[in-house]
Amino acid sequence: MNLNILKPNKENLSTYLMLGIGLLSVGFIDIFSNTFFNFNITKIFPGIISYLSPLLLGAFGLHFIRIEYSGNKTLDTINKNLNSSNFNAILSLIVIFILIKYLPPLLNWAFFDANFLGNSKEECTGDGACWVFVKVWFNRFMYGMYPDAEQWRINFSFLLLIGSIGSIFILPLKFKKYIILFLLFIFPIIALNIISGGMFGLKWIETGAWGGLSLTFIVSAFALIFCFPIGVFLALGRRSDLPAIKYSSIGFIELWRGVPLITVLFMSAVMFPMFLPDGTYMDKLMRVIIAITLFEAAYMAEVVRGGLQALPRGQYDAAKSLGMGYWRMHFLIILPQALKLVIPGIANTFLALVKDTPLIFVVGLLELAGMIGLAKTNPDWLGMATEGYVFAAFVFWIICFAMSRYSQNLERKLSTDR
């Protein structure tokens, strides 16, 4: 038998496999005993070698089982995907070892040692997370200080929004226009009146009490609805051949895109009231929505401009040759095509908008992250920051991940159309 240590070959397949798997398993046993039983089987070696021993053993093991075209399907798949070279083998081992070392404690913290039952901090006895905190404060995290008895109003508004957006896809095409018009002009007024009350015998609830995740949705929904038309006009303005309009649009867009949102919110909070006539007061939430709308409109304008630039010149020429004026050409020919092109971009802008809403804490409005900041300073619930922020991160992650997947799907679908 002729074993070539440097270049394992097919002839002695079983010997190499035994050698390789043996070394690999010693490496794994080492890391397992280290992680779970706190026992180091390689402590006879000096420090650094003992520390790296699982990696070295594993790397040698993987080297021995790296046999091309071995005829064994599983082995070939493993070699191709995890073990194509020494470098790849070490990378795979590092990833596996990191998972072995850090995944179980994480799962223990989040699930197995966690507390789900109970109503107070004292009932959290395990070492793991205290999800009781999230459970007790859940209502506040969702609705802020909005009175419990009136929360159906927020729910109703959201159902209306989801229903009307859903009906765009279900109802025949000719209703689409009316639903979009309803969403753009009538829905904001209805929703605002239902949520803030004061009409139809509904109790007036001041905006200071709004909060939690629903505030995130309210701010992003209103900002999206308003920033879209402004963005379209800014984009048209930027491409206009009238210098005064072109340069004022460019100035507006670059101004907002050049500053951080937080300074814009500061502006809306401290500087904007100075610009209003003496004695007039504008609601804090309204100012925030205006600020975010203008800020996002600048980004939306750049997205729409991308769509306008992507349209071939022939579309403009064809529309003009039919005798259409500027507005008819844009609203009937150019914009419908351009907007379709940039739907993914619009979705991404909206995603950025949702991720930006927690910033409204600077003016004292408490959406989800802000409510958690408030709850973690409650004397009965000190030391719950991790649970709270992990929960918030999870909620935002689900929303944003779903949206980004949706926009990726749209991108794929729209790109195959052409």
Partner: protein, 391 residues
């Protein structure tokens, strides 16, 4: 004199009216706001002006790169904030680029585990709002670090504690000579690479400018140590007992947890976008390019250096610059965890003390605008210089 200028014909009228209306609208809006502002400030007894910048600030800032205390002026406080913003942005940009490039290449790896790991990293950190990540690092992760007496020890020279990260301080003598030596070596490298290029293009001689440059970069600064009188010592942080129960580190440089968590959140968030840019850049190069390069006998390293990277960088750099700008702007989230950056120091504390909303907010926004515009114009210039020049 051209009389046509005064007699506007129909076509010009059509062009002129919307423009005049727009300008009129803007002018009216601005003067309306300015009028209100004047009335409001008059009622509160304050007058518009930037004179307050030279007044004494009389507040302290917890972390400062330059000499500052309460007796300095507001202008100095502004500078402290600006420097802190630039510091955290440059640290963030550096780390974000490192992570982003690694992860971006990792996503294209043939290794299934590495590719999946990179993908999970990107999807997780991209879809969580930056502010939440910042809160998580600051209020949850870094608060779980041990007290100074049980600090996490890195080889007895650096300690990580709940109060910050203590690293050795560099004590230089004749630091300026060292800087000059680095500048000199950079000039020498530029000269050598130009010479090498000339030799190659005119005589076909190959001079390995890379190795010569590397050795120059090492040799000239080390010469400054040997004969230039430059010395470098380290001041290592030492644990000291303040009272029976309170311990703290003395000496060295303390990197405050605010800076640590801000840099961490900014770089890990932005790295996901950079990773996607890198991936798109590498994927954007056709297979044919690599095959063509291989067919004329270039080695794998040469293909990467001469064919793939120059083309990929052209795709990667513009969106990545955008991300650098976003990172700089996002560093203003510092206000949420009380890291004394431009927004917190100036638009926060200074504004609260002086009440000069318009001046301070306009200075703050103007500064960010200036940073953004200068970086983006530099990058536009760079883009033009690397763009494909079609003949």
């Amino acid at each position: 004199m051209n009389l046509n200028f005064f007699f506007i014909n129909l076509k010009n009228k059509k062009r002129l009216i919307p423009q005049v209306l727009t300008l009129l609208f803007i002018a009216l809006g601005i003067s309306y706001f300015a009028f209100n502002a004047q009335v409001n400030m008059g009622n509160r007894g304050i007058s518009f002006g930037y004179g307050f910048l030279s007044q004494e600030a009389s507040f302290d800032i917890g972390f400062s790169l330059i000499d500052y205390d309460g007796s300095h002026t507001y202008a100095r406080a502004f500078l402290v904030g600006l420097l802190n913003t630039l510091l955290v942005s440059s640290i963030g940009i550096l780390i974000a680029t490192l992570i982003g490039v690694t992860v971006g290449i990792g996503r294209l790896s043939s290794n299934y585990l590495v590719a999946k790991f990179s993908e999970v990293y990107v999807e997780v950190f991209r879809n969580i709002p930056l502010l939440l990540q910042l809160f998580f690092w600051y209020f949850a992760a870094l608060r779980a670090l041990p007290l100074p007496e049980q600090a996490i020890n890195f080889n007895d020279i650096s300690y990580l504690t709940v109060k910050g990260w203590y690293v050795p301080k560099f004590l230089w003598t004749n630091f300026s000579i060292f800087i000059y030596s680095i500048l000199a070596s950079i000039v020498a490298i530029i000269f050598v690479s130009k010479y090498a290029r000339k030799q190659r293009e005119e005589f076909g001689k190959h001079i390995s400018s890379f190795y010569i440059g590397m050795s120059l970069l090492f040799l000239i600064p080390s010469l400054s140590f040997l004969i230039g009188g430059v010395t470098l010592n380290f001041e290592i942080p030492v644990l000291k007992q303040m009272s029976t129960t309170i311990f703290n580190f003395h000496g060295g440089v303390s990197i405050i947890p605010e800076l640590l968590s801000l840099a961490m959140a900014l770089s890990m968030y932005t790295a996901t976008f950079i990773a996607e840019n890198v991936r798109a850049g590498i994927l954007g190069i056709g297979k044919g390019q690599k095959e063509a390069a291989a067919s004329i006998g270039l080695t794998k390293a040469q293909i990467l250096k001469l064919v793939v990277l120059p083309q990929a960088l052209r795709i990667i750099i513009p969106p990545t610059t955008n991300q650098y700008l976003n990172l700089t702007k996002n560093s203003s989230l510092a206000a949420a965890i009380a890291y004394p950056d431009l927004v917190l120091v100036f638009a926060g504390t200074a504004l609260m003390q002086t009440g000069r909303a318009i001046e301070i907010v306009s200075i703050t926004m103007g500064t960010y605008l200036l940073i953004s515009l200068s970086i983006s114009s530099f990058m536009n210039w760079y883009n033009k210089s690397v763009a494909i020049k079609e003949k």
